[in-house]
Symmetry: C3
């Protein structure tokens, strides 16, 4: 299982890189400077995990204890800043990477909450927060109504992935198959929503 | 006094339901989907109490320890989502319920701060924060300048209610009459402001 | 060195007054009422230090432990509210005072983080957060894209000042010369940027 743990570590770093890139792309649309790119990338990448740790009473947050996290997010932000015009054509690829990051953060966030002693329903909620809150802060700072609140099946995919993982864990399933099942659920729902253009119905007055 | 304590518990739950409804009504105006309704309702209902607990160093917050809170806010949000067109005509009633929730949260928030060891002036401030911060976050997420900052006598009513309660308590008055006096002050000021259309003068350049 | 410590205490209070004034000027531009002035002034003045303390796990924050801070920020906000039309012609002076407050908060924030046991790179980051985050919250609440993200060399000046201070301290330089060097660096860079109208290049699609 060492290979799996090492794979997860890499996926975790890749997930924060993907979220940082999604933040940097919004910064590009807003015409910010390089400092703005780094700030938005960091906030998007680590906002969710920070709120989770805050609500669990676990301060300082993970990214203040190991500079790797900030280094990756900053590097991604500067890469997008200088090479953004080439990345824009890869937007579709980023959408799929974002779906993977979403599912991964939901499941890993739920596990961290469980290990910190949260009740199962709270762990599902905190996994969803881990996966989605960074994007909310990104949109609020950039003065847009958060995508989360008005578009596509996004938070629900994270919620479903976290719920499957937590349910399997409290039923006694081992960690790795539970992680895989949660990941597959979250990514699968999000992927179907992307492919078919599914979205939730909006309120009709 | 058991009846009074039980009444307060009911008022407390009703207060969070009212704030959740006010959040859902803003979500309706913005045309969000059902997930957006629930998120905004939860944030509006519990944002103030969460910031209070955060500033007091009391994490995790109350709504992560008992699922009743989230269940009520979510149910209210979905009710507004599906029946919103019927509720819109009841907007005036909601304004009055909101005034009651405001006064109640100001007084109960101040009490929690006092019990946690805050100084009296800080308890007044934290009571006001409890009553008003949820609405600020609601407006910021929905990309509007917070109502609190530009309309009517709202924060001042909460401040006055919390101040009366704290003053009576440090003067040795029993809890229940102090709660009632604080509630009456906060609700009374807000009610007069609503009836007479009072508002604070804005800055004139 | 008693005179120097006392000077620092005065500069610290003056720094929060300056940031409060910058918040109140934005409130004036938005046409808020007196409550809005006070809220924005407090948030601008203490938002950065509060986030720093939060990330360090040091709650309650400093301004809940001594009413002097809130009294100063509120007094400044009301002063601007009632005398704003006279202050507007002094905007240039405020810009320079803001540069001093920026450098001061960056250095003092970094020192607080070091004393709380943060690693050097994290202390530099937290100093920058102390100096800049209040302005970000001010702009987000007032529904504007934060100045920090789209204008001039602001965050970089704070970062440089905090970095010089932290580097000198871990090299064993005494506190007072290190403080002075950090202050001079942060203020100097910001001053040059103001005088020459320097700003960072924005992203070009």
């Amino acid at each position: 299982m060492d290979a799996f743990a090492s794979l997860l570590r890499w996926l975790d770093l890749a997930g924060s890189a993907v979220f940082a890139a999604s933040g940097a792309l919004v910064a590009a649309r807003k015409g910010l400077d390089a400092v703005g790119f780094v700030v938005i990338a960091v906030v998007t990448g680590f906002g969710g995990g920070t709120l989770r740790d805050l609500l669990l009473g676990r301060m300082p947050p993970f990214w203040l204890q190991d500079p790797t996290w900030l280094a990756i997010a900053s590097a991604v932000a500067l890469l997008v800043f200088f090479l953004g015009h080439r990345l824009e054509s890869r937007f579709q690829a980023l959408l799929w990477a974002d779906a993977l990051g979403l599912a991964l953060y939901a499941v890993l966030g739920a596990e961290i909450a469980l290990l910190a002693g949260a009740q199962p329903w709270a762990a599902v909620l905190l996994g969803t927060v881990t996966a989605t809150f960074g994007g909310v802060v990104r949109d609020v700072i950039c003065n847009e109504i958060p995508l989360l609140l008005r578009q596509e099946i996004y938070a629900l995919a994270a919620l479903a992935g976290a719920a499957v993982f937590v349910l399997l864990r409290i039923e006694g399933v081992w960690r790795d198959p539970a992680l895989l099942a949660g990941l597959a659920t979250g990514f699968g729902i999000r992927a179907i929503a992307i492919r078919r253009g599914w979205s939730l119905p909006a309120y009709r007055p």
